[in-house]
């Protein structure tokens, strides 16, 4: 588990974030990620990400479900144990449409959610480094990985001049590991809740 050095810049407005992303990329830095409290449409394009293929995976899972239903029901009702139901045909496709449809949906949905969790490394008990606690509340947190050529001070100045409200340097684990979030002592203290 290799530790890496990152420069973090926090923004509090979408309007400021988009030009900042453009400027930072134009200056030649590679943005590792931007952590946002909600889905910011267009940010993936601004960061130069390609479209996700998750829906294609969903289609493949769906037709797998269709094929499973058609093949297993027809095998059961024509080969394995042909039941005489009121003298009707053994291969009764119209009567199987509801189950074929349901299995198509089931396979597509379950498969997609599992693929989603796999791709995003999401699972119970998975832990990742969080660059800013307010990234799930109200801040848009831009993270840039430092290389040996990066001058962190310059980069922080660039972020500040583009409207970052907070900047800092963090040394952190890049991937994920198993663990719970209660180990590091960083509870949310400045809570002001009216009872």
């Amino acid at each position: 588990m290799a530790q890496k050095k990152f420069v973090v810049g926090c923004f509090d407005e979408e309007k400021v974030l988009f030009p900042a992303v453009k400027q930072v990329r134009a200056a030649g830095y590679k943005i590792k990620d931007v952590y946002t409290p909600f889905a910011v449409h267009g940010l993936d394009h601004a960061l130069g990400m390609r479209e996700t293929s998750l829906h294609t995976a969903g289609f493949i899972y769906g037709i797998t479900g269709t094929a499973t239903a058609v093949s297993s029901i027809s095998w059961i009702f024509t080969k394995d144990w042909p039941l005489n139901i009121g003298g009707k045909p053994h291969f009764a496709l119209p009567a199987w449409i509801p189950i074929i449809f349901e299995l198509t949906v089931l396979f597509a949905a379950v498969g997609m959610v599992m693929t989603f969790c796999w791709l995003c490394q999401l699972a119970p008990g998975v832990k990742k480094h969080h660059f800013h606690k307010r990234a799930t509340d109200d801040l848009f947190v831009m993270v840039i990985e430092c290389t040996e050529k990066t001058n962190a001070e310059d980069l922080m100045a660039l972020l500040k001049s583009n409207g970052a409200v907070e900047t800092d340097i963090q040394v952190a684990e890049e991937g994920w590991w198993f663990g719970t979030y209660d180990k590091n002592d960083d509870l949310y203290n400045n809570k002001q809740v009216a009872l």
Binding site: L43, T52, P98
Partner: protein, 481 residues
Amino acid sequence: MHIKYESQLREPLVYGEKNFHQVTEDILRPIEVKPSRLWYIGFFIAVTLLLFGVYSLYREVTYGIGQWNLNKTIGWGWDITNFVWWVGIGHAGTLISAVLLLFRQGWRTGVNRAAEAMTIFAVMCAGQFPIFHMGRVWLAFFIMPYPNSRGPLWVNFNSPLLWDVFAISTYFTVSLLFWYSGLLPDLATVRDRAFTKLRKKLYGIAAFGWTGSTKHWQRHESLSLVLAGLSTPLVLSVHTIVSFDFATSVIPGWHTTIFPPYFVAGAIFSGFAMVQSLLIVVRKVFGLTDYITIGHIDLMNKVIVLTGSIVGIAYLTELFMGWYSQNKYEGYTFWYSRAYLFSPYGWSYWGMMACNVLSPQIFWSRKMRRNVFVTFFMSIIVNIGMWFERFVIIVTSLYRDYLPSSWSVYYSPSIWEIGFYTGTFGLFFTCFFLFAKYFPVIAVAEIKYVLKRSGESYKPEFEKLEAQPLDSFVHDNVHAH
């Protein structure tokens, strides 16, 4: 194409001066403070009902279906009535989250999370009835097709009852996945605001390590959209298949082709009514009136008056066909067993008509749609009416069929049948109370997404945009990709 702008003419979806942090504070407050006394009282009542239901089921499992007042003629009574009723209620959540997502109805964000939770709990309640109606519930797994040592003896894939098994279990699974994948970002918000170690640990596990990465959000959006696309035909198929349980039989009163659309409309009708009953209480008790606004209630009441009228037309069509078919058995069922007020179950038919068709018509008035008390009262009335509908369909069709020698004596439920039903209320409300205590009842991230477009304090900014000439407006505000 995606427009980052919303017309002034539309009502704001979020009232008050809010910023992102305020949204988080407002919605998460109920799960971060100690529950009120009202919560404990409600939870206690729900658990008591649940325990009575468990005892009723203990009687049923130990002594058999004879504990219920079913007989050879009325083989489906309260149990299947309740099953269809709960499944119907379980339709609003997925309708709100999926169909309204596809139709790009921004107002779904305020109500979808609670409605989806309600869907899941309602389907859980619904499932109990057919499972325990099997009698030997310990053999319930026989309904799953798997290679077995009994032949192998397979289930009948041509039977609507088996279609139901697949439809309900698929619906439950997909609704659960849809709900939970939407919850992940909000659970992460709760985790990052945790003020005790235990909360941090448990919400950390529940949030699956969500960080809010842009790539994850991109996939999350794609996942939600495809799941919505899958759930839309699914939600229509589920009640269609439930209606096939009846429509594919040869019982007069059941054997009608109108059933699928009529059942689906009825399901949406009762589901929205249940959403209203729950959310009107939740928004008041949790102080969320800025997020579940009177505008939301108004819109849901419009859905109620529409679907209630569709159901009304279906009732009238059935009566017409009962006469037009000139089939004496159908005529007897529709015009004597149901529509004749002084027949044994005539009261249930007219109760249904009054609750489902006549009373929702008051929602043509905007004033009534925006009145919280009227809405709450009507939501209860609609659900009573929809229970009557299922009772009418099941019992009035069964109790007198082709042979007068097998006509039934008057059917009324035993205490254990009633106990089972109240037990599912207990289950439903126990789950809902726990949900409201431990999960955000409104989708925090989705509210933040619409806040700067549809929030009350942000809408005035768009005034100068509206004054712009069309070309420059399109150039600035339409983001095509």
